[in-house]
Amino acid sequence: MQKLLVCYKWVLDEQDIKVTGDLSLDTGRAKYKISDYDKNAVEAGVLLGEQHGVSVEALTFGTAAVKQSLKDALSRGLDKVYWIGDAAAEQADAFVTANILAGAIKKAGPYDLILCGEGSADSYSQQTAPRLATLLGIPAITFVRQLSVADGRVTAIRKLGDCTEEVTVTGPAVISVLPEINKPRIPGLKQVMAAAKKPSEEVKVADLGLAAGELAPKVRSLSVKGYVMDRKKVIFKEANQADNVAKLVASLAQEGLC
């Protein structure tokens, strides 16, 4: 094993997004973060890199804002980040994203393993890893909860709702990892300082040799509206908890639930 790649997405922190009265989304106060699921992929890549003494690079595609991600990404133990900051990311669907990532991987690669999170924290469409594998002509092993590499072979335990399976792959592959695979490290001051000295390289979409059709999304957003739970919101907040419980039980009795 010579070289690993992790793909990550720089997303708005959904905890900071507010749903306004007309159900539009107010993202004005939202900060960006590395998608939570991708932090697990970064950690899985860096752990493998440390175990096998190989270089771990990362690739990210986003709007111009993605450049802000470099320091955080590099402080997590990566050796280098390739970043693509392009306005096309605003409208990109998984078709476009995978085409761009695959183009960049063909340019910067080859890689023995390409790691992705199970989905992204914003759109969670869970398509990037399998699409990338198909575009690169290599196997995809998705929903991996445990990963090891020995004698040039990768062994992954997948978790698939009703069963687990062990998959062994020879040669390069794309892996998507489940959040349960690890606990991402929290970079310390030393790692953050070291990140400033690590290399990053901008990749331009125009240099990837993609046709116009490969950059035109197939899925277009018509509207995004805040999801409102239509709930009763009857809240009991007296100091006497016995009273609150009695009122709750009376309400549940009315609902026919006790």
């Binding site: 708005l12 959904e14 905890q15 669907d93 998984a94 078709f95 199970e118 924290a121 914003d122 759109s123 969670y124 469409s125 869970q126 398509q127 399998p130 699409r131 990338l132 594998a133 198909t134 575009l135 290599i138 196997p139 995809a140 998705t142 978790k159 709702g161 069963c163 687990t164 062990e166 998959v167 062994t168 020879t170 040669g171 349960e180 606990k183 490969e214 999304p217 197939k218 899925v219 277009r220 957003s221 018509l222 509207s223 995004v224 509206k225 999801y227 739970m229 709930r231 009763k232 919101k233 809240i235 009991f236 907040k237 908890q241 609150n244 419980v245 009695a246 709750l248 549940l252 639930l257």
Partner: protein, 310 residues
């Protein structure tokens, strides 16, 4: 055959998708075909209204290995729409097929309809905070989560064509071993009628006995947030409820010490009645609850347990 195609490695899910497929059939005036790996189930799809069933047969039993074969068949048949059962295997296969067909794919659609020369869908984004309506140009792929639709009813004449398609799906780069069913501790919470769910408000693992007592009094299964199963590992992962975990539809959900992050709430939104107990009056869970008690769960839960036992 252009038209609407359905695939799932799980035949029950395929019959659920037929319900959505038959609606599209009416709107698009095109036939519905089911692609299946299970020859013995073929007639059940015809009985439920499929015009044609393709039984895809290869030498490799791994469902994911059929992606290329499915893509080839759909290209040859000039399929317009492919609905895929949104199991994990289904989502994996759908993305590979979409990449091969250079097609758009919407994952986990809650609604799918014909709209102009495309397909219109709605799905959750930002961890369940918002709903996005999208259009996908044809050929369009959509995955639909299991249990979104009821299985299509037996109808019509039961006449339809069953075609066996032999495909090559060997891949000597990949070998699959040790397929183990996940043995759940207790019942499947996705199907539970009542759920008591615990979050980070619980201060130590031993206090789960208090939660178990409430669950016993209510007749509920125990669920938890992602933090409890993945960070603390107090409960198995198949107990965690949320957008990336279990999605539940109980009659009654009681959340204890749960702040109500959108990712968790996305997993409980189909509950009939949501009850929340949390010490923080401003916790977002109260916005998602029918009934709530603001208070220390260590004080409230024993009282509630006692009251529910009566």
């Amino acid at each position: 055959m252009p038209g609407i195609w359905i695939y799932s490695e799980d035949s029950a899910v395929a019959r659920q998708l037929l319900t959505a497929g038959l609606e599209l059939k009416n709107a698009m005036k095109q036939p519905v075909a089911v692609l299946t790996l299970s020859g013995e189930e073929a007639q059940t799809f015809i009985d439920a209204g499929a015009d044609k069933v393709y039984v895809v047969k290869g030498s490799n039993p791994w469902p994911e290995s059929y992606a290329n074969a499915v893509a080839d068949l759909l290209t040859k048949e000039q399929a317009g729409v492919l609905l895929v059962g949104g199991t994990m295997r289904g989502k994996d296969l759908a993305a590979k097929v979409a990449a091969s067909l250079k097609a758009g794919l919407v994952t986990d659609a809650l609604r799918v309809a014909c709209a102009g020369d495309g397909i219109e869908t709605t799905r959750l984004v930002y961890g369940g905070l918002a709903v996005r309506t999208e259009t996908v140009t044809l050929p369009a792929l959509v995955t639909i989560p299991p249990r979104t639709f009821a299985e299509a009813a037996v109808q019509g004449t039961g006449q339809g064509e069953v075609v066996i398609v032999e495909v090559a799906n060997d891949d000597n780069r990949v070998s699959v071993t040790n397929v183990c069913p996940i043995v759940r501790q207790g019942a499947d919470i996705a199907a539970a009628d009542r759920i008591v769910c615990v979050g980070r408000g619980l201060s130590k693992k031993e206090d789960l006995t208090m939660v178990e007592a409430l669950a016993a009094a209510v007749g509920a299964e125990i669920g938890c947030t992602r933090g409890i199963s993945e960070d603390y590992r107090w409960l198995p992962n198949d107990r965690y409820i949320g957008i990336s975990g279990q999605k539940v539809k109980p009659e009654l959900y009681i959340g204890l010490g749960i702040s109500g992050q959108v990712q968790h709430v996305a997993g409980i939104r189909d509950a009939k009645v949501i009850v929340a107990v949390d010490s923080n009056e401003k916790a977002p869970i109260f916005e998602a609850a029918d009934y709530g008690i603001v208070g220390d769960l260590y004080e409230v839960v024993p009282l509630l347990t006692k009251a529910m036992q009566k």
